[in-house]
């Protein structure tokens, strides 16, 4: 399972990157790029940031080599680890318990296709970042696994694992903004050139 998912993931990423090279040359990518100027002081970004900062997202975008659980973002029980590729370790991979869908009752493992953490090479840790840093981080292809803005927007609004945040299963709080509203806000931000808050 892990191998299959890894392959799919690499195909997806490679495909996306090559498409990006063809059709969307990225103007201001890379860690050395200057922070994007923002005429609105990042208001378009902060309008949807509560979703990103919600435990449904942060529990996999937090510090440490492990996922978290619950609205209190406690460390995942059973000492679960990120592992070498974000899919867990040896006999406790994400797919050991998590399916591609939520199971029918509270406290059963939640699930979505490709359930995993960011890999340790690009851990996408958002914990501790200011809004400005978070915005820059998700836009940075070196920190977002090679996504340009269009691909980032697609990830945020269409990826099945991200979509799970709106449908996290019984006993879990969904992310705070309705999905259509969130999508509209992300796209408004994209249309404005994805400006980031100053701090």
């Amino acid at each position: 399972m892990k191998r299959l998912s890894s392959v799919l993931w690499s195909l997806l990423v490679c495909g996306a990157v090559s498409t990006a090279w063809l059709s969307h040359p990225v103007a201001a990518a890379g860690p050395t790029a200057a922070p994007t100027a923002s005429s609105d002081n990042g208001a378009l970004f902060t309008a949807f940031v509560p979703v990103l900062r919600h435990p449904r997202c942060m529990n996999c975008h937090s510090k440490g080599g492990y996922p978290r659980q619950g609205d209190d973002s406690h460390r995942h029980t059973m000492d679960i680890r990120r592992g070498p590729a974000g899919f867990g370790v040896t006999s406790v991979k994400c797919s050991t318990c998590h399916q591609d869908h939520n199971l029918g009752a509270a406290h059963l493992p939640p699930g979505a296709p490709g359930w995993h953490l960011p890999p340790p090479s690009v851990p996408m840790i958002w914990e501790g970042l200011t809004d400005g840093q978070l915005c820059e981080s998700i836009k940075n292809p070196k920190q977002n696994r090679g996504r340009n803005i269009d691909q980032l927007v697609e990830h945020l609004t269409e990826d099945k694992l991200v979509m799970w945040g709106w449908n996290p299963g019984e006993g879990r709080t969904p992310v705070p903004i309705p999905h259509d509203e969130f999508s509209a806000k992300v796209k408004a931000w994209q249309a404005a050139g994805a400006p980031c808050p100053a701090r």
Partner: protein, 722 residues
């Protein structure tokens, strides 16, 4: 019962019903799975076997089958009891196997008078029985050989499954038929312990191979031809009664055969477990919730605390506590609280029943065969001898499978009556955890004093909690006319410390939560309170906790022995790295002496136990390998309770449902554990439970050593430390 395979690689299992019916379960690893055939043909023991007594059968094929009257729930009785018999028999150990005993008075526990497993007593109560059974068989085999050779029995000797006379040799298998015709001797000579070949050696367990390839049959694995599976919708609150149920949706779901009210609730009987469970979710039951709907455990503890302020039934009274306390130079008071606990065996409760017009067969992991059979017979409307109870492997017992009301057996017989087919009732984990019969919650208030010289002069314990004995069929016998339950106060009623003015009092709480013995019973909570308080007294006396105990145990050499051994092996006086602390505890329970030293660290309120050093003195021991395993397991069992476990009620409803809310220690939390066994020839004691009681106080005392905070409540939470 299951005739044990005798060759390690033989996976054939034949189950021969005790009296009458033959049940053959042939099981091969792989896809063919478990097939069980049944015939009603009566099957005598066998023409080709020698069965000199109820405990051993020797076949012409050399196989020695030891019939074990105690249940195997992990504690190793299917190995240690055969060892006793085989040693006296001088059997070839590689030919020795085991078989669970049928239910019969001849398999009654020598002390308790019923067939059962509990009280850590299997080995020490069976010591004489199994050794004599082996020695009697040996004497008969010798007599048979002597007859054949026409020599005196005294000129024959035995070795590794054979009788020898000079160069002549006859194996036990060759002698079995002849020996079967002889009369068992009235008196037998037992071996001098120095001649033991098996007893005292770390012999590998006989039941391990089948536990490594899935072939061991636990109750949950029993499969009968045409068997249905049932789950029961159980009351949400203890004492609730079913008013009505609506099965309009559930009864038409796939595989559902019948939905029927029984005293335990509403049984959903289906072809498979998953169908039954799914249908149960669609069932609507209206309950009369009864008198417990406002019960909650925090209020209960508050009431216990109030009650502990007044005197209770007198359990022990040495000297004059009040006078000594008034004169004490330093006084300490502490109130200890422990919660309800679930046994939480890995294998949830289950019971399979095949009920016929004039017979009933029951398969389950029972610790209480006589009681379970009698209770099953009552519901089946049959005399007990018409009920056969087959004891399977137990996926953990810890006391839960010795239920005074046979709850999990009785309900299965009710379901079988309704099912009209063989049926297995299976409890989900949630059913099991919410089904009651817990270790009772207890409050233990202690006051003590030391004199100016730092000597302990006074101690008063007041305990408040439910009795596990009162109201049970054996309550009266056990309580022996006392106005308190000895099981509530065991471990404090015999406090060994030399304290001249010592009072122990007990308050019995009446609460409609079913409670029962759980591994180490009263000791599971009394040792926590007494051994933590000993540390508090040592603090008041300005003494080291280990040496303070030593000073008060001078008349108790076996307590001292384990205490010193644990302290020495742990390196009590060696400094630990910064951030680490050591705690010690000693306790006597189930005729054995135990001491633990725990090493812990505390970081951000999280307690980590790094090392536990356990010393155990169980007198003359049988299998030190099993003793070490039980002691390690006991320490982990006790540490799980100390660190994680608590059952709480709110508005009558239990708040815990599964391992996520009632955690068990896991691999990454498990400390390094060292076990040291005292070598002596004292009377044998128990081993299944004595490893549990010291874990909690040793850990709590270590937490004090590292944080300076006293732990007075389990499970340990640093936010509640004082």
């Amino acid at each position: 019962m299951i005739r044990r395979k005798l060759e390690r690689r033989d996976f054939l299992k034949i189950s021969v019903a005790a009296s009458g019916g033959l049940l053959i379960g042939i099981r091969f690893p792989g896809i063919s799975g478990l097939a069980v055939a049944q015939s009603s043909a009566a099957q005598p023991a066998s023409a080709n076997t020698f069965m000199p007594n109820a405990f051993v059968r020797i076949g012409t094929d050399e196989r020695v089958t030891v019939i074990v009257n105690h249940s195997e729930m992990g504690q190793g009785v299917y190995t240690s009891l055969p060892m006793l018999l085989a040693d006296e028999l001088d059997a070839d150990w590689s030919k020795v196997g085991f078989e669970p005993a049928p239910v019969d008075p001849k398999y009654n526990h020598p002390a308790f008078g019923i067939q059962m497993t509990g009280g850590s007593s299997s080995v020490y109560s069976g010591l004489q029985q199994f050794r004599e059974a082996g020695a009697a068989a040996r004497a008969m085999l010798i007599a048979a050989a002597a007859q054949q050779w026409n020599v005196a029995a005294s000129d024959c000797r035995t070795e590794s499954g054979a009788v020898l006379n000079g160069a002549r040799k006859l194996t036990y298998g060759q002698l079995a038929s002849a020996a079967a015709k002889l009369t068992p001797p009235e008196h037998v000579q037992l071996k001098d312990p120095k001649d033991f070949k098996l007893i005292g050696k770390p012999i590998k367990r006989l039941d391990t191979p089948e536990k490594l390839n899935g072939s061991a049959v636990f109750g949950i694995d029993v499969k009968l031809p045409g068997m249905l599976t049932a789950v029961i919708a159980r009351p949400p609150i203890f004492g609730a009664k079913m008013k009505s149920f609506d099965d309009s949706r559930a009864r038409s779901m796939p595989g559902v055969r019948k939905i029927v009210a029984i005293p335990a609730g509403v049984a959903v009987i289906a072809d498979t477990f998953w169908q039954a469970k799914t249908a149960r979710e669609a069932l609507r039951v209206d309950w009369d919730e009864g008198s417990m709907q406002n019960f909650n455990t925090s209020e209960m503890m508050h009431q216990f605390r109030e009650r502990a302020k007044s005197p209770g039934s007198s359990v022990r009274k040495d000297g004059d506590f009040d006078a000594a306390m008034a004169a004490a130079a330093r006084k300490v008071e502490a109130v200890y609280e422990v919660p309800y606990l679930s046994h939480l065996m890995m294998e949830p409760l289950n019971c399979a029943v095949d009920l016929r017009a004039d017979s009933c067969e029951v398969w389950t992991g029972s610790q209480f065969q006589t009681i379970d059979r009698a209770n099953a017979a009552k519901i089946a409307g049959l005399p007990p001898e018409k009920v056969q109870l087959h004891t399977t492997f137990l996926g953990g017992g810890f006391g839960r499978r010795a239920n005074p009301q046979s709850d999990f057996v009785v309900e299965a017989v009710y379901v079988a009556k309704a099912a009209g087919a063989p049926v297995k009732v299976l409890w989900t984990r949630e059913d099991d955890m919410q089904g009651g019969w817990y270790r009772p919650a207890f409050l233990h208030a202690i006051e003590g004093g030391v004199d100016a010289g730092g000597n302990a002069v006074s101690w008063r314990s007041r305990l408040v909690g439910q009795s596990i004995m009162s109201g049970t069929p054996f309550g009266a016998a056990f309580m022996k006319g006392k106005d308190y339950d000895p099981a509530s106060v065991e471990g404090v009623d015999d406090l060994p410390y030399e304290i001249p003015n010592l009072t122990v009092e007990s308050h019995q709480a009446e609460i409609n939560v079913p409670v029962q013995w759980l591994r180490s019973v009263g000791h599971s909570h009394t040792a926590f309170a007494t051994e933590c308080f000993m540390d508090e007294l040592a603090g008041a006396a300005g003494k080291d906790p280990y040496r303070f105990r030593r000073g008060l145990l001078q008349k108790h050499p076996r307590h001292l022995g384990v205490l010193d051994l644990a302290a020495q092996k742990a390196g009590w006086d060696k400094p630990l790295p910064k951030g680490m602390g050591r705690g010690i505890a000693v306790h006597f329970a189930f005729e054995s002496y135990s001491a633990h030293v725990a090493e812990v660290s505390v970081e951000d309120g999280n307690i980590r136990v790094h090392r536990m050093v356990c010393a155990i003195d169980c007198g003359q021991y049988v299998n030190p390998g099993i003793i070490a395993a039980q002691t390690e397991g006991g320490a982990i069992f006790g540490a799980s309770a100390a660190l994680f476990q608590e059952l709480t009620f709110e508005k009558g409803r239990l708040q815990q449902t599964n391992f996520n809310s009632f955690p068990v220690m896991r691999m990454n939390e498990c400390p390094q554990i060292e076990t040291y066994l005292v070598d002596n020839h004292e009377k044998s004691g128990g081993i299944g439970e004595p490893g549990v009681p010291c874990a909690a106080p040793a850990i709590a005392n270590a937490v004090f050593a590292v944080t300076g905070k006293r732990i007075r409540k389990l499970p340990i939470r640093m936010s509640e430390a004082v």
